[in-house]
């Protein structure tokens, strides 16, 4: 688990945001994937897709259902809203089709060779400003920092703890890798878990 690669990812995301890119890719690792999913959950990223060297097809270029079918689907959902949930396991194998019509699934080609895999991220912009502007490491490759939940609590309340500055700018987030996975600092405080702090994002 090298933090050098994570440092590269941080700088790359900042650069891509400054360049106003819509889609960018980073090397794949379990740490990267989990952190990116955390970022997506916090609303910094619009999409996280595993793919090859070529970018996945944008949503608008993917094959979609015809407008008539969409209308039918909407009517069905309005009358029987429970169809929005996936069917139970018993019915999954049954031959008769779903009441919503055939599901459109877009298959992304993922190379067999793990070295050729890339993680494709959709970046977000709002009011001509990137949503993800700053992203910096806290733990460095040469100096890891572990914090317990009390320290994290202080930090989320804008106080300094364990040589880590508080989250003072509005909407700032901090990601912590714990034994429950990679979590946001506030979630760690809620669950009372500590861990190694990775990066701060705003």
């Amino acid at each position: 688990m090298s933090l050098v690669n994570l440092a590269h990812v941080c700088s790359h995301l900042q650069n891509a945001s400054k360049a106003r890119l819509g889609l960018t890719s980073i090397p794949v690792s379990k740490l990267h994937v989990n952190l990116m999913l955390g970022l997506q959950k916090e609303g910094f990223l619009s999409s996280v897709t595993l793919g090859g060297t070529a970018p996945p097809k944008p949503f608008l270029l993917q094959s979609q259902s015809a407008p008539e079918e969409l209308e039918k689907m909407a009517n069905t959902l309005a009358e029987e809203p429970w169809n929005a949930y996936p069917p139970p396991e018993a019915e999954k194998s049954s031959p008769h089709p779903s009441p919503l019509g055939k599901e459109q699934v877009y298959e992304v080609h993922v190379p067999q060779n793990p070295a050729r895999r890339r993680l494709w991220l959709g970046l977000k912009y709002w009011n001509n400003e990137p949503v993800l502007k700053h992203m910096r490491l806290i733990s460095k490759p040469t100096r890891r920092i572990w914090l317990n939940s009390e320290d994290l609590g202080k930090i989320t309340r804008t106080r300094q703890a364990g040589f880590v500055k508080g989250l003072t700018s509005p909407g700032e987030c901090m990601f912590v890798t714990t034994d429950r996975g990679i979590l946001e600092a506030r979630e760690c405080v809620e669950r009372r878990v500590g861990g190694m702090v990775l990066c701060r994002v705003s």
Partner: protein, 432 residues
């Protein structure tokens, strides 16, 4: 240049330089061999020369418009005045040169001149206010008492009748009246009764009717008569009220630009924070001017910064003030007292860090940022300027930082998350 022009001209005199004299067209002078312009032959005097004939004209006009007394007139004067008085008149006339009267004396054109010819020697009963009368002019006792209701009503009706009689000298019209006349009559009657009610003769009564009459007589009033009110266009335009200040064309333009009135402009707090001299080095020398940087704010979330530069100090200051008011921008404030989170802005080598602080913390910042925070209406703030502290850049960086804050609502919209102000929830919305 034409080829037919003789070559002599080329060498004889330069055409661009002024001619040394007018009569050299035929007998050409040699060309001067230095580059400076030759001096004109005839030096012009510093004052216009007055010719003797003109002086004669003035004398003639003076004697025509202010002639000497002839024999008939002196005879008339002798009938009226004593020899001593005549001697005084002659001495007075001799003291004033009629030429001065002609050149300097002029008819009044000011609005306060009399509209009629008068030497103000005696009182004209039509045009002038009557002379004041002394209390001794009232014959008899001079005591009054407050009238009772009956006496007052009687006096009022009598005075109203007098007033109506003044308005209708031929008697009050009766019978069937046209609508217009009827309205006018009612109006006059109301005026007469109002005047009667306000008349002192209705309020007081006494044994001496002459003393009572004196109450309403303006000749016995201690109040000076009003000055005549002049109503023409010039008088209206030049009339100035005491509270009316001088109209600045730049301020007028600014008000038009902002669509504000003067009261709103007066509520803006303006402060000049930086003044220093600057020089422009030209080939003629240094041109010194003054640079001004002014901030403006309404103390309630508006802040502007303006710069001005001019050779004239007052001009530069005004420029900067107007620019500051024109540049007013909203400053988002958390709970109307501090900023939303920490801010950082870098302008050139200057970095300004602003920190939000809890209620009651105060403005613990350097003087420039203090003035800006006060103008914007911020009450709790801390700041650091870790790098260069150039005054102009500190102000600009602070202004930029305060005006370009990221609001929580915006962040929530951008991320698609729900953000809640915990303080507001905790205090049940009783914070701002």
């Amino acid at each position: 240049m034409s080829v037919w022009r003789p070559a002599r001209c080329l060498f004889s005199r330069s055409t661009t330089l002024p001619k040394p004299s007018a009569s050299t067209s035929a007998s050409h002078q040699p060309r001067p061999f230095h580059s400076s312009c030759p001096r004109p032959a005839r030096r012009r005097p510093h004052y216009p020369s007055i010719k003797a004939s003109d002086l004669q004209l003035l004398n003639q006009a003076a004697s025509e418009s202010y002639p000497k007394y002839n024999t008939d007139e002196t005879a008339l004067l002798r009938k009226r005045y004593t020899p001593a008085q005549i001697a005084a008149i002659k001495a007075a006339e001799a003291a004033i040169d009629p030429r001065d009267l002609l050149t300097q004396g002029q008819q009044r054109t000011d609005p306060w001149r009399l509209p009629y010819e008068d030497d103000l020697a005696d009182v004209d009963p039509v045009t002038d206010h009557a002379d004041k009368l002394p209390p001794s002019a009232i014959v008899g006792k001079k005591d009054f008492r407050l009238a009772n209701a009956v006496e007052r009503d009687e006096a009022m009706s009598r005075i109203a009748n007098e007033n109506l009689a003044k308005m209708y000298p031929d008697g009050v019209p009766d019978g069937q009246l046209s609508r217009k006349d009827q309205e006018k009559l009612e109006e006059n009657m109301e005026a007469a009764f109002t005047q009667a009610a306000m008349d002192p003769r209705a309020v007081y009564t006494g044994s001496n009717p002459r003393a009572l009459e004196a109450l309403a007589d303006p000749r016995h009033s201690v109040i000076l008569p009003d000055l005549p009110r002049i109503e023409n266009r010039m008088a209206r335009q030049t009339r100035r009220l005491a509270d009316e200040e001088e109209e600045d064309p730049r301020q007028k333009r600014l008000l038009k630009y902002l669509d504000w009135d003067k009261d709103k402009l007066r509520s803006i707090r303006v402060k000049t924070l930086i003044v220093h001299g600057v020089t422009n080095q030209t080939r003629m020398g240094k041109i010194r001017s003054l640079y001004y940087l002014t901030i403006a704010g309404n103390g309630n979330g508006l802040l502007g910064v303006g710069e001005g530069k001019s050779v004239e100090p007052e001009e530069g200051r005004k420029q900067s003030v107007m620019a500051a008011i024109r540049n007013l921008r909203p400053v988002p404030r958390y709970e109307n007292r501090t900023i939303y989170g920490d801010l950082e802005k870098k302008v050139a080598a200057t970095k300004v860090q602003l920190f939000a602080r809890p209620p009651g913390f105060g403005l613990r910042v350097q003087h420039l940022i203090f003035e800006m925070a006060r103008a914007a209406g911020l009450q709790d703030l801390a700041a650091r300027t870790p790098r260069s502290r150039n005054k102009m850049n500190v102000i600009k960086a602070t202004w930029e930082a305060l005006c370009s804050q990221k609001l929580p609502d915006e962040i929530a919209r951008a991320r698609g998350k729900k953000l809640v102000d915990v303080r507001k929830v905790y205090y049940g919305g009783s914070v701002h």
